[in-house]
Symmetry: C2
Subunit: 206 residues, 2 copies
Amino acid sequence: MIRAMSVPSFMDLALMAAAEAGKSGEVPVGCVIVRNQEVIATAANRTRADHDPTAHAEILALREAAAKIGSERLIDCDLYVTLEPCTMCAGAISLARIRRLYFGATDPKGGAVESGVRFFDALSCHHRPEIYSAIGESAAARLLHEFFQERRQWAPRLSVAGDPLKPLAAASPYAPSKLASLLTGRPGLYEKSQTDLPPACFVPHP
Amino acid sequence: MIRAMSVPSFMDLALMAAAEAGKSGEVPVGCVIVRNQEVIATAANRTRADHDPTAHAEILALREAAAKIGSERLIDCDLYVTLEPCTMCAGAISLARIRRLYFGATDPKGGAVESGVRFFDALSCHHRPEIYSAIGESAAARLLHEFFQERRQWAPRLSVAGDPLKPLAAASPYAPSKLASLLTGRPGLYEKSQTDLPPACFVPHP
């Protein structure tokens, strides 16, 4: 008996890349770029791992795709990303002449397509892709929600009584971040908890 | 007798990087990033050479600086760039938490600081550097003006009678772009003339 198999959509592939990024402590956003119905680039956020503020999924995928086809203009390419692009990424998508942009969850705080500066509607935007939003939205939003929820659960525990890992780290061959990875099984979580969460999270609990 | 020597300013260094980029056929924009009065990154546009739509001077310098200090947040760094940052670069400067931004010429068409979406004044901008404009403005503008003027002079010659290089290229081991580089001594000029200039430039001259 032959059973029909479900083929993942391009947004499914972006969501899979996002989920992988989340497991390694990066904000779970994934992106694929498609040309002639073929995926030519897949990327997810790597800002932490690469120590690179520009290493958003879209930027990495655009660079990979442009290198692959040997041109900085991706005029016949479509980009799928799980979260509404930020201002930097919207600018890059326009510069790369992406044909169609598909995105998942909206980002009212940092987005730049339907939110924020709405770059593609601005007079200074010289190339506007076709835009399709809310593709795979609920799955993308769930990934992000779970990621940040987990970080908020961990942060107070890590920061109770100031910085509980410092005394341990002083007697350990590992840096506090490495030690936290070993203790929690979540690489990168400690560093994030120290920098990204609202200050209230760091107030010692009574 | 001891004579005072003139020490180049940080913007002078950015201008020198821009001039070098112009000689190799890239749009002449240069950038340096400074930390504790020391230059930790220098870059110029490389979109053509790298086939990378994101390879603006600012993005390359931000990546270099972040790699050097091992953090994606450049909170104590200042960025000097010869042209007003575009939307992509303004977004990246904000994400990188640059402390002070110094720029030269304004870019009414593509800029995003004093022009266009004025990103740093937007509610969705979560970090705004101190901004100092018109630093080395005339030198930066002259570089850009001369670069585009020269391209406009070349473009009609290359495009008279349609595409004069095609027959030559057909009988040559080189691609048209390489052939044009050899004939004109200006790498990249041919490709630029085919894509970047206004259509009027490509009308055969009487």
